[in-house]
């Protein structure tokens, strides 16, 4: 009983952290542009597949593959903003959101053409065997997942609170008109937001692939759950996303363990719907953080 609970908790936190990173990706783009980027899940998928390619085909060491995959996906984010979003920037926010759905379909299709339909794997970051804690199994890769996500969160906090560009991104989110009036180049900030979100999504994809494998079709579900976490945590709220991601992952894992794994995927949707019905500003959001334009 206790062992099961511990095991479910570990599993839940592992996926929860991944959802949290997807949610943070949503938040970064949403904060600067009010766009909900439904291609966010595809960035996770691309990160995993790129890394699998760099290790499996190019035989890069896994750490190098991690950074290469993050950079490659960052370039995809760059291209998405530069060649798609920017061209349509005079369209309304809703049209832009629909465009992100189109991009997600495009990315998924390209991934299928490039990598096929089979799942790809990646070796774990360290080769030592699983650790036993009170009868529960802890894969070393799980520790990597926690470590890398913690690093991402710390780096982001640092970026947003210490660097000039990070603060400028917060300023754009706070008041886009004033941001333009003081001379913050909003277009560059939007580009930066897409690159950053894509890179964070890719990092999540690379660290989860050794545990859960990755195939072209995984982006949509990851994106949806990350979106659930983002809404639950209050859109635009980083720490909310972090907490909501973990809550969602845990709820899913307990549901799979104690009820039936068949309902697992419904948990995130139920949370999302409940949040939208009863508390659209999210658990940790303020009133002002409610979906701005719907």
């Amino acid at each position: 009983m206790g062992t099961d609970f511990l095991q479910y908790t570990i599993t839940g936190l592992t996926v929860g952290v991944i959802y949290a990173m997807v949610a943070i990706g949503y938040n970064i783009i949403y904060n600067v542009t009010e766009i909900i980027n439904f291609a966010q899940g595809e960035f996770v998928m691309l990160g995993g597949l790129f890394a699998a390619f760099f290790v499996g085909t190019l035989h890069l060491p896994v750490f190098l593959a991690f950074f290469a995959a993050v950079i490659a996906t960052g370039c995809v984010g760059f291209a998405m903003e530069r060649f798609v979003i920017r061209r349509a920037r005079n369209a309304g926010v809703l049209s832009l959101i629909i465009i992100t759905i189109a991009v997600s379909i495009l990315l998924k299709g390209s991934a299928m053409l490039g990598y096929g339909k089979d799942p790809h794997c990646l070796p774990a970051f360290s080769t030592r065997g699983p650790i036993m804690i009170a009868g529960a199994v802890l894969q070393p890769q799980v520790l990597w997942i926690f470590g890398v996500s913690a690093l991402v969160v710390i780096a982001l906090s640092f970026f947003f609170h210490r660097s000039f560009y990070g603060k400028a991104m917060l300023a754009c989110a706070d008041n886009p008109i004033a941001a333009r009036m003081v001379g913050i180049p909003v277009r560059q900030m939007v580009l930066l937001a897409f690159i950053l979100s894509a890179s964070i999504g890719a990092a999540a994809g690379v660290i989860i692939t050794p545990i859960s494998l990755m195939d072209y079709d995984r982006g949509a579900m990851l994106g949806l759950k990350g979106f659930g976490a983002a809404v639950l945590g209050g859109l635009g709220n980083f720490y909310g996303a972090l907490l909501a991601g973990c809550v969602l992952g845990l709820a899913e894992s307990y549901c799979a363990g104690y009820l039936s794994s068949g309902y697992k995927d419904a948990v995130a949707l139920i949370f999302l719907l409940l949040a939208l019905f009863f508390k659209p500003e999210g658990l940790f959001g303020s009133e002002a953080a409610t979906l701005k334009k719907f």
Binding site: F164, K167, A168, L170, A171, D174, N175, I177, A178, A179, R180, M181, V182, G183, I184, P185, R187
Partner: protein, 257 residues
Amino acid sequence: MLTVSDIHTYYGNIHALKGISLQVRSGEMVALIGANGAGKSTLVHTICGLIRPEKGTIMFQGAAIHGLLPESIVERGIAVVPEGRHVFSTLSVEVNLQMGGFVHRRNSSQIQEDIHWMFDIFPILRQRRLQLAGTLSGGEQQMLAISRALMSRPQLLILDEPSMGLAPLVIKEIFRIILDLKEKGKTILLIEQNARAALQIADRGYVLETGRVALEGESAMLLEHKDVQRAYLGQKGHLSTVPFAAKAQKRQRSCGG
């Protein structure tokens, strides 16, 4: 320094500015007065690059700036204190000021220096340094908005209705600050509905009515002008904020349906 010639600006089908021309010379303070909805803020947004004019030219220090991005216009030396203040309310006072200096981001010692200079001009902001801007009082937010604009070291400072929504005593303080800036040699374009207060400290003035310049001239002349007195200054010794022209306009609109 700034020459606006025959500017036409539209919002979709609405013809908001119908051929506006005005000039601000170096070292001068020019007042732009007009009723609510006359197009004052639209002109400000057109000058600072937030809206593209359909027609007309804007020259600043000898170069055309219409069609440039807002960030290039700030870099060239125009800073705006927007109507309604628009401070970054979820960021601290200090970060607000840093953002005001965004165009000088590569020179962090200058930004640090300027922040201290702002704190010397507005000591209250030093006390509130780490407070979120949204928690400041209206007057403090206006001081923050002004100092944020000054952080870019502008040649021309544009203030859009700095007295809006403030208590009379605070308005007095804000006007004292503006006059101070002028005496230090700043070139200022002051937009106001509070016509008397604005004309009293400005060198020259323009009166805007429904997207056109209705009148222009020396402040003293405008203060004495019959139409201005009737429409914008109200009874003697009484500060009017809702001029007759606006009331008449409203009446017309409701009749026109």
